[in-house]
Symmetry: C2
Subunit: 332 residues, 2 copies
DNA sequence: GTGAAAGCGCTAACAT
DNA sequence: ATGTTAGCGCTTTCAC
């Protein structure tokens, strides 16, 4: 072993030795379990010893002992959506921390869901929060078998074996499309991004648009678009005469609007465009963008739910629903 | 203990039993250590047994044994910057995975750096990658003491005790300001977001602007701005006659441009505005936004560096630099 | 080519 | 009020 440039990390045994107590006592003091069991004097001595040695507990050892870690896992893709979401994640992180959990985001976009679930399962997290497409039945099974107490999926339908936070992607499409149709649009396009596993969500949103269009007999066409100016411009140049667009989300919507303007098509005059997520750029765009706002619900409540499910596993079922609301602005 | 709704998680002992070998053999086979030590027949039997039992190794046990986990930790705030960054993080995740590491992002924005470092240290990660403001000397010390092999800071100056990827925030400001001055601007404003711990970066960027302004004698004023339309509008309404702005980043730049336009101030006619990050929205804005592009370097190389440092800890020092480049567009 | 066994750091049941 | 101890699942040295 190469020379240790730093003092060997202190263990609870070191703390015990320095404080002149047993390791058990150290554990009781530092974890505040069974309050009143250890005298105040001893507690003080233990804390002082821990402080002096710069003691930091070993999460892996605790996890091994407990059978699971205190990790709550989420796919990192979530964080990239925008400030609203990332602020909300901050709140969630804080709320979970107060329950003793550590929220971590893990990438693995596009990879085989089961492969990703395997990596997650190895960490023996207390809970996993993830959108449905990543949580295939095999992935859920893998996680449950590995002992993950709370597997919470967000998706349109209850997921067998997992708790489900209902999040109807199709509702996004339906809300936007119903509005476009009400505005008299009958030739609808639905933007279908191919990037980063968004295709699954896009397909569900498309289905929602189709539903809304069914009755009134509007025509619906899925249109692939990459998040790329040249691609957007090419689409706008060859615009097939759609008079209404549901653009997957605000980013794609703003990209398309800009491209349409570039080729002289008026928004909403010639083409009405609606997005989703209701980010600030949507609000300040010209024309201001109609969007479907997603209301993620209280981070505190979700943290409490996670804690409850971890403490006493319950029958899988629906644990809540994400609400959404159409914000009408100038672009439609 | 409440009833186990799921089969008890299989351990390597279970696999060994089913395959009729020892736990040692299981370990050798599944980790591919010492190839050629175990016969092909045995290997196949072990693999089959693992498969059949749905065996998933226990990261905590491995970490306990190894003295450290295979986690590489980064602050989650990074992911929220934009698609470019989050795509790059994906690459990094993949590259690290190939070296056997798991990249996880952890929040904890705004909290006491030492408190956050403590949570990180408990996970005994193999490496930590973080911007300087979070890595105070005390935080670095804590991590090193906990045995983290590679603490890689990104910041303007070498960080004592840590490896440093040089990332000159002030260079961003300097590049933008030099350009504004070259365009004849002499009354410069620097937008100072207060949110999410951005203030530290903002201060450094401001310092860069001041440097660039020193020689030519341009006047520099820091101007607080929240990421909020009303705040931006209020600023624009009371615009104190600045003729050039470095806007912290593209998001704030686009917000300000929009507010200036709202009150009838022309960009770049009356006010030239430059951002940073060079996101797609900057490119397609009207006027297209001048921005400083940040080039994060190769994810593969960074992953390899992490691996090298973990394998054989080296003297802390400078391990590379993030380059940046001014992209001139219409807004200046 | 394979097995036995020690030990990583922690917690909690049990003993004093 | 405090201490003893077993054992969580894994890797790896050493013995066969």
């Amino acid at each position: 072993m190469p020379g240790r440039p730093h003092p060997a990390r202190a263990t609870s045994a070191d703390v015990a030795r320095l404080a002149g107590v047993s390791r058990a006592t150290v554990s009781f003091v530092l974890n505040d379990t069974e309050p009143g069991r250890v005298s105040d004097a001893t507690r003080a001595r233990v804390r002082a010893a821990a402080e002096q040695l710069g003691y930091v507990s070993h999460a892996a050892a605790r996890a091994l002992r407990a059978g699971r870690s205190n990790l709550v896992l989420m796919p990192a893709s979530q964080a990239a959506i925008g400030r609203l979401v990332s602020d909300w994640l901050d709140e969630l992180q804080l709320a979970l921390h107060e329950h003793g959990y550590t929220l971590v985001l893990h990438g693995g976009r596009g990879a085989d869901p089961v492969e990703v679930a395997r990596v997650w399962a190895e960490m023996r997290p207390a809970a996993v929060l993830a959108p449905v497409p990543g949580l295939t039945p095999a992935a859920v099974e893998l996680l449950r078998t590995a002992g993950v107490r709370a597997v919470i999926a967000t998706g349109g339908e209850p997921v067998p074996g997992a708790h489900t936070m209902i999040f109807r992607q199709d509702e996004l499409g339906r809300l936007a499309a119903a509005h476009l149709i009400e505005r008299g649009r009958r030739r609808l396009a639905v933007l279908m991004p191919g990037e980063r596993g968004l295709d699954v969500f896009a397909a569900e949103r498309l289905a929602g648009v189709r539903q809304a269009a069914g009755g009134p007999g509007a025509e619906v066409t899925p249109v692939p678009l990459r998040y790329d100016w040249d691609d957007a411009l090419a689409l706008a140049r060859a615009w097939p005469g759609f008079d209404g667009v549901f653009a997957y989300n605000d980013e794609y919507a703003l990209l398309l609007v800009r491209a349409l303007q570039e080729v002289g098509l008026e928004v909403p005059g010639s083409v009405a465009v609606a997005g989703a997520d209701d980010l600030l750029p949507a609000r300040i765009a010209r024309p201001a963008l109609t969007s479907v706002r997603i209301e993620p619900g209280s981070a505190d409540e979700l943290a409490a739910l996670v804690h409850r499910l971890v403490e006493e596993p319950a029958e899988p079922g629906v644990v809540g629903a994400v609400r959404m609301r159409l914000i009408v602005r100038e672009s439609t």
